[in-house]
């Protein structure tokens, strides 16, 4: 019985409300159906009234609500003219353009009358008529200005999230209109919609972060889109929040003097509380977005770094283990996580078990065959160290041979010697340049001091090279380095070094 009652109430009582809710869609379908077939014998049938209507609505929102000005007919004409040319590519002369624009305008204005349709209200058992306007007009400074109605804004918002504008801002514009029109109940609905949007953006923020974590490259695109569609509107949204709070305050001030406001005082207070909560949620969204920016920067930074430096990829490693179908390999991942094993003695239980030699009643404990031996690994960095050591020793030996042969020479001569001996490949090795960098850390090298104490990495190698010589050869010897910044030695397209003059000095 109760179920039946609910069913009847849904059908009868709520019917009127449902009709009011769908009224905003009515003009669109009315307009887009056969709009151009009757006009001029179907000459402009290729034009799409539905599309033009949506474009005009967006144009009015931009002008009325963001630029806060009315639209004049000339401006409208200019806007639709762009549409014919850009989107339909129909060659229209000026007169035709004039004619078509006027026709569309009259259609959208429904020849100055509201769009209307009738429905049967089962609760009151009578036919009712709903009226709706899309564009309204007013006279300002002896000129007729046009503006979009709140119903049309609501319709536009319902069709899709506005990409290039903030949905929150547009909803707030609608809220302002509702407060001005004393439609406080409608205002509460709009605030609910804003809350939904704030909640949606918060959830979206988490999604963006997840995508960034899994796929940085796609994530960056989505993150940038999110920044453009959310963060850049914060200032504007906050201004609009303040504006709406002011409007509510003004409404509350009028409660005493105006009976219409007095009757709606509960709704106004409710609206005020809801808006305050929305503002606080909006601030939370701002904090969440700031947090997202910081985390995203961190992820992007890491991704840039890891492009150069390979990381240990757990998912990929698991794939490799599963492909080998060897579960024992899992221990290589798990064992290192564990702490130090400090229990080195037999537990009392085990000793007791050994003494009494009790048999296991339950299933026997299997022994893992640890057949692995401690292996000796040569790490990548050790291989690299060995290479550097080898190359540095050879380069330093060559340098010392030059020193003893010429007493004064420059880097060009040294390079020629290297080229003759090793070919051009020696200049492709990063070790050659790194040796020069290490060498240039000092402008003088005292061989006696180096044999006693080595300050730099280079001196370590130099000492090793000197050890192979007879002591009398380097005793009391000093090598001076003069940097000739005017002369640059070019190796490749983008690689050049300052020339260095090496001079031998005996103390």
């Amino acid at each position: 019985m109760a179920q039946e009652h609910i069913l009847i109430r849904d059908i009868i009582q709520d019917h009127s409300e449902r009709m009011l809710n769908i009224k905003k869609y009515y003009p669109y379908f009315k307009l887009s159906e056969n709009a151009f077939t009757q006009f001029q014998g179907g000459k402009y049938e290729e034009l799409d009234m539905g599309y033009i209507l949506m474009a005009v609505l967006r144009f009015f929102i931009e002008e009325n609500n963001f630029k806060e000005k009315d639209v004049y007919y000339e401006e409208y004409k200019e806007f639709v003219r762009e549409i014919y040319r850009r989107d339909f590519m129909i060659p229209l002369d000026e007169d035709e353009e004039e004619e078509v624009s006027a026709y569309i305008f009259d259609k959208i204005k429904n020849d100055g009358k509201p769009f209307s349709y009738s429905y049967f209200d089962p609760a009151e058992k009578k036919k009712k008529t709903i009226r709706i306007k899309i564009i309204d007009s007013r006279i300002k400074n002896d000129k007729i200005g046009y503006f979009i109605t709140s119903d049309a804004i609501e319709f536009y918002l319902d069709t899709k999230e506005v990409k290039d504008e903030s949905t929150i801002s547009i909803s707030q514009v609608l809220l302002s209109k509702m407060i001005s029109a004393k439609n406080f109940k409608g205002g509460i609905e709009v605030i609910k919609r804003i809350n939904n949007e704030v909640g949606r953006l918060k959830a979206r923020k988490n999604e963006v972060l997840n995508i960034l974590n899994y796929d940085v490259f796609n994530g960056i695109k989505i993150y940038e889109e999110f920044l453009n569609s959310v963060i850049k509107w914060f200032d504007e949204e906050q201004k609009l929040f303040i504006k709406n709070m002011d409007l509510i305050k003004t409404a509350l001030d009028r409660v005493e003097s105006d009976s219409e406001y007095y009757n709606a005082v509960d709704d106004i207070y409710y609206l005020e509380t809801e808006l305050k909560m929305t503002i606080s949620r909006h601030k939370e969204l701002l904090t969440a977005c700031t947090d997202l920016q910081m985390k995203a920067d961190e992820i992007i930074e890491k991704a840039k770094f890891s492009k150069i430096k390979r990381e240990f990829d757990f998912k990929n490693a698991l794939g490799m283990i599963m492909e080998k179908d060897d579960t024992t390999l899992l221990s290589h991942i798990v064992m290192p996580l564990l702490g130090i094993n400090i229990n080195k003695s037999f537990s009392l239980k085990s000793i007791d078990k050994m003494l009494t030699l009790k048999n296991d009643k339950k299933e026997a404990n299997e022994i893992v065959k640890d057949h692995k031996e401690e292996e000796h690994y040569v790490y990548d960095d050790e291989i690299e160290d060995e290479r550097i050591k080898h190359n540095f020793s050879n380069l330093i030996k060559e340098l010392m041979e030059c020193v003893f042969e010429y007493e004064k020479f420059d880097l060009v001569l040294f390079n020629t010697r290297l080229r003759n001996k090793y070919g051009d490949d020696v200049f492709k090795s990063s070790d050659y340049y790194s040796m020069l960098v290490h060498l240039s850390q000092k402008s003088e090298y005292d061989m006696d001091e180096i044999m006693e104490k080595q300050d730099t990495f280079f001196e370590d190698y130099l000492k090793e090279a000197l050890k192979e010589l007879d002591e009398s050869q380097y005793r009391g010897l000093k090598l001076k380095l003069i940097y000739d910044s005017k002369e640059k030695i070019k190796f490749f397209e983008d690689a050049c070094v300052t020339n260095i003059i090496f001079k031998l000095d005996y103390s």
């Binding site: 972060l209 997840n210 974590n213 899994y214 985390k295 992820i299 890491k302 991704a303 770094f305 890891s306 430096k309 390979r310 990381e311 240990f312 990829d313 757990f314 998912k315 990929n316 490693a317 698991l318 490799m320 283990i321 599963m322 080998k324 179908d325 060897d326 579960t327 024992t328 390999l329 899992l330 221990s331 290589h332 991942i333 798990v334 064992m335 290192p336 996580l337 564990l338 702490g339 130090i340 094993n341 400090i342 229990n343 339950k362 299933e363 026997a364 404990n365 299997e366 022994i367 893992v368 640890d370 692995k372 401690e374 690994y377 790490y379 990548d380």
Partner: protein, 231 residues
């Protein structure tokens, strides 16, 4: 005894007996000594190296790992079985597999976290289910004789044969009888190993866990990849 050597020994002794050295705990003075005195630092590193123990610094704390196959300070598989409370090898490897799934819940790679704050037992169960899905699907057409020892089919069967929970009353009790119980066994072990912290059924990674994932695997990736590739 030389003061620096004494401090270094003190630090090593705390670390190898399972203690934590942090800027904010009772060993703050030792942490300070380690970070500000180069002599102490060098000695600690060199002593630990001789013990085949790796040291990692993370968020003002020092953490050690015996790595793999460390016969003195590491665990053997038998010891881990005992700690976990399992008997069979396939159960041990299933535990390892569960630990691996827990790692991937928090980290994609050693340098990329998923920003997951905590995991619950049910999250881990679905992750294990998902990773074993393909093998489990093929189990229906497989002869049991085909199942090799230490293979993933073996742990998939162990997993698949368990009910999700043993019974309503003890659904969250650790044990080998159900998936929930099994994952709980693993979590208890990770909590005992100071890798996880439990609060109201949520498991949060501790600094030690993060330090190991980000530092150990970063440093040893080359060698581990070689082992996994079978080179």
């Amino acid at each position: 005894m030389d003061r620096e050597l004494e401090k270094a020994l003190e630090i090593v002794s705390v670390l190898i007996t399972g203690g934590d050295i942090k800027k904010t705990n009772e060993h703050a003075a030792l942490y300070e000594e380690f970070t500000s005195n180069a002599g102490v630092y060098d000695m600690v590193i060199s002593m630990l190296k001789k013990f085949n123990i790796s040291l990692y610094e993370y968020k003002d704390g020092l953490y050690v790992s015996p790595g793999e196959n460390n016969k003195i300070f590491g665990y053997t598989n038998e010891e881990i079985k005992k700690e976990l409370g399992v008997r069979l090898n396939r159960e041990l490897y299933l535990c390892y597999f569960i630990i691996y799934n827990i790692i991937t819940k928090f980290y994609n790679s050693s340098g990329s976290s998923t920003f997951t704050e905590y995991v619950k037992i049910e999250d881990v169960i679905s992750s294990v289910d998902m990773n074993l899905k393909e093998i489990i699907m093929n189990l229906n057409v497989m002869s049991l004789d085909d199942i090799e020892q230490d293979s993933f089919k073996e742990i998939a069967i162990t997993w698949e044969d368990m009910p999700v929970a043993a019974s309503e009353e003890n659904s969250k009790r650790a044990g080998r009888g159900s998936k929930v119980g099994f994952v709980k066994l693993v979590f208890n072990f990770l909590v005992a190993q100071k890798l996880m912290l439990e609060s109201e059924g949520r498991y949060y990674p501790k600094d030690r866990f993060v330090a190991m994932i980000t530092e150990y695997f970063e440093q040893h990736k080359g060698r581990i990849y070689e082992i996994l590739k079978g080179e």
